[in-house]
Symmetry: C2
Subunit: 208 residues, 2 copies
């Protein structure tokens, strides 16, 4: 039962005061957390960009080492033995408004940091080489438990990658760093994850 003042207004504790009273009605429509993986979100976004002729960005196929193939008559070749290979580059690349775009997308269940072991040395080297050629490289990280997605420009990632080897180096990027040095991506209806809005900002910074 709610305790009320004599004038009929409800008595609020400090905890009650912190919460906006009409939180449910005030909350904006959320398009996030609909059970899609980050990869699905990005693929849908890329489909949108392609259809609207805004960019041509695709996920690369997963590298697979084929060992054995059967050729049954009158049907498609059937691969009967194959193994996953370690990716030597990143997941996504393409072209946007004259710029080469190259990025990697990762999810983590961690709430306080993103473990650097999710990347490999050769992926960092690849991104560095692309940046040297004038490409735009970044990573998109989703904190699934917090349901927040950030874009981290390559130079920021590189800084964190390098400090790992320091004697007191951290093995993960603290969540705070995403809030201060990254760009939060907000879900929308379409495109789901409008990351090119951030790329526009990075391009402006680069060209200025």
């Amino acid at each position: 039962m709610r305790i009320r003042y004599p004038n009929g207004k409800p008595y609020l504790t400090n905890d009650d005061k912190k919460k906006p009273k009409n939180q449910l009605t005030k909350k904006k429509t959320s398009y996030s957390n609909r059970g899609m993986t980050l990869e699905e979100d990005i693929n849908k976004t890329n489909d949108y960009y392609l259809l609207r002729k805004l960019a041509v960005i695709h996920k690369k196929p997963i590298p697979i080492q084929v060992v054995n193939v059967n050729y049954p008559s009158r049907s498609a070749a059937k691969i009967t033995e194959a193994y996953y290979k370690k990716a030597s580059t990143t997941d996504y690349n393409g072209v946007y408004n004259g710029y080469y775009i190259d990025f990697e997308a990762k999810e983590t269940k961690n709430k306080t940091s993103f473990p650097l072991k999710n990347f490999h040395d050769h992926q960092l080297s690849h991104m560095e080489a692309c940046v040297d050629q004038g490409g735009m490289c970044f990573v998109i990280i989703r904190f699934t438990t917090l349901n927040r997605v950030f874009l981290l420009d390559f130079p920021v990632l590189k800084k964190w990658w390098r400090q790992q080897k320091d004697p007191d180096g951290k093995k993960s990027i603290p969540f705070k760093a995403f809030e201060t040095d990254g760009y939060e991506l907000k879900y929308s209806l379409s495109p789901r994850l409008p990351y090119l809005d951030i790329v526009d900002r990075l391009i402006k910074q680069k060209d200025s």
Copy 2:
């Protein structure tokens, strides 16, 4: 037996006259025809460009639809059923000197023309979309029997692709068109197929 003039000089027919006499000694060292496929040639060339920090261009993995995977204990996941998927884009892409590079490479045993059925509609659409975004798109075609390799810029390919649907449209690009509207790639020791030299010329044309 060779017929000779009274002064000892050999009698040459018109056919003989056409051939340079000391063809063998004059011929430059040839690095072609060493049993490598066009794909191997291009991969080696891309390795060279990457190592010299001239460009970052990779062959995309072959798209494979994985149906079944076994996870034997203590060893890598083994794919036991999978099928090749049709590529929706091109074989190679990357970044060179600020430009997005995208191309397809094909070999043919034909000597007089290149059959257009080697390409798919969606590959042409892909290249067109990339060009619209400011990318550099082209195809590299090797006539294996003639051992000659040509780079054809996307607009030329598009012209030939479109005329197919004409009532008297050709189903292949005549070899002559490669000689007149394409750029011949000459093999060298390293890089094996210096196609970026031609890309430089295309960039100059584009920017002028």
